[in-house]
């Protein structure tokens, strides 16, 4: 019931977000969409993910989005300037075909029998508490005291996520740490690209740039 409600509104807000020409409205619908997705996470017992979704996306990123939209004072774009008129219908057509394709794929792949909701309830039975290191992966940590099993109880909670993110025996520690490099690069990049004047540049060059691109 709740799934249908919020899943449906996520869809609707997503579509309206794309369709609204006014960027502020679009952004607001995106915020709503993010909230709906957060609620879906809640329904799946992923409380941490839900709150983080709200904090990061709705609370920080979208506020910046709105900030930029308002700062640039973006209005509704003028359609008469659009040179590639045929692009729009073509895009819609291709999107529909692609959606149909994926729909067919997913429809075929979901096993017949129990409906989706039943599967969701059943899912945790797939997970058994880990008694020993993962046999599928060799060279695991062999000290069982180090591994605290993720059980259905801790799945989706802060404890569970923390244990699988920061445990060297789990698969997720490395990508998590590697992502920090990614963020560092992004920070460096934004500084490099947005800084008024780099140490090597002289003032006249920077002025030239601003005049040239502004």
């Amino acid at each position: 019931m709740l799934f249908l409600l919020f899943g449906g509104s996520a869809l609707v807000t997503g579509i309206t977000m794309v369709l609204f020409p006014n960027p502020v409205r679009s952004a607001l619908f995106l915020v709503l969409n993010l909230f709906c997705v957060a609620v879906l996470y809640l329904l799946l017992n992923a409380y941490f993910l839900a709150t983080v979704q709200v904090i990061v996306y709705a609370g920080a990123i979208m506020v910046l989005f709105l900030f930029v939209i308002m700062l640039l004072n973006l209005g509704t774009p003028d359609r008469s300037l659009d040179k590639l008129r045929w692009q729009q219908p073509a895009a819609v057509g291709i999107a529909v075909v692609l959606a149909a394709l994926f729909g067919a794929v997913i429809y075929q792949s979901v096993p017949a029998g129990p409906p989706a909701s039943a599967m969701m309830v059943e899912a945790p039975t797939l997970y058994a508490p880990r008694a020993e290191p993962n046999p599928m992966l060799t060279n695991q940590i062999s000290d069982p005291n180090q591994l605290r099993a993720i059980t259905p109880d801790t799945m989706g909670t802060v404890t569970g996520i923390g244990q699988s993110l920061y445990n060297p025996g789990e698969a997720w520690l490395f990508p998590f740490e590697a992502t920090s490099i990614l963020l560092l690069i992004a920070v460096i990049g934004s500084v490099v690209l947005a800084k008024r004047r780099l140490p090597g540049e002289d003032a006249s060059a920077a002025g030239e740039r601003e005049g040239g691109t502004g």
Binding site: Y47, T51, V54, A58, L71, T157
Partner: protein, 480 residues
Amino acid sequence: MNDLWQQLFILPTDQIPWWAEVFRSVIRLVIALAGGLGSVPILVWLERRLLGWFQGRLGPNRVGPFGLLQPLADALKLMMKEDIIPTNVDRTIYVMAPAIALFPVILSLTVLPWNGSREWGAVAPNIDIGILFLLAVGSIEVYGAILAGWSSNNKYSLLGGLRASSQVISYELGMGLSIVSVLLIAGTLGTQSLVMGYDLSQTGVLAPGTLLGNGQAIVSVASVGDTGYTVYEHAASSGFWDWHFLRLFPFGLIATGIYMISMIAETNRAPFDLPEAETELVAGFHTEYSSFKFAMFFMGEYANMLIVSAICVTLFFGGWLAPFGFLSQLPAVTGLYVAPGVVNFVNSFVIAPFWLFTKLYVLIGLFIAVRASFPRLRYDMLMKFGWKGMLPVALGNLVLIATSLAVQQVTFPSLGYYGAWWAGQGVAWGITLVVVGILFYGKYVQYQAKKRVARTTDLIAPIRRPTVIVPTPSAPAPEA
């Protein structure tokens, strides 16, 4: 009858039918709303009287005793006024904005605890991500101001909205980091557990003598079973020295300071009230609002003040706990029989909220004193202070807290509780001293260099650069 009573008020959650749970939720919600929104008029009155006092005038004193009914009169006036919607506004968003401003504030009320009871401590007492929820809700509060500013179709409003968004985003970082610091110290995300120092959601009875997260041991275990009043057994031995602002001295205190500064910025109050700076922006994002919509912004601002203060009290100042443990509960008077239920009721619904509200109003008094004392910041100063001052300090503080705790964890078995504490703190203090020393040395070197430059530039003519003439050794000097 007795059964119904038991179901509605006494039995633990898992033993009651759903309608009793709904009933309890409604009751808890009513309590929270009464406590939260009911405080708003008192706050308004308090602010005006205190400001008057700070500024050497009287403040409102005509309506009711001491002017106590003034807020009521204000509210009536606002509701009577004409509700104007200017022609060129974006109507939908314009109407929605005040509601969006007020909504998250009410939502935050759901996880703020007023006592330690598992059943009656907060609207949603058992939620294990309480603090994260507060952060999430706090992060969407700014939408009200932004949308109001944008939809009003007014330059001043738009500037106010823009300022609000950038300011809130900037200060949220420091705020979040200080909250993370306290979470590291407490080791839990639940609001009640945070205050009490142990994880309330853990099932099972803690044995007497168990060491809790906040450094106290459980003195005795009461009969849990009914309403989970285990709290007071250890709270009795604790006091303000166990609250988080004094933990891991001075790092807890630094985190507290950072939180308190950013909470003023988050609520857009003086000296950080740039979004509604009346000398520059008329009234900022709510310039175009009138009547009830304005009242909602007004209410939202005051309720928000209350909420951030309540979060501050919960995180750093021991929530509902009394400054000295024995003040937390009714004294056990020998020979006088009082039913345990009554004792519990008084303890959790009179004494605990009393301390909570006392702390809250002290903090709010501080808010008002700050408003009366400091001039408004300039916008670039505000940003600089947030990004270059608060954020690095908060980050460094967080790292030091983590270091201290990690060292404590490693050395705990060998050195014992206090030994580990001193080891961890020693390392953290050492790092602090070294880093601060280096920073000061750097500043000192800079200062010296600047002094030298100043001296040399005094000596040489300002326009010409000094030219150094090197005598060529090969050329023989002509004999005079």
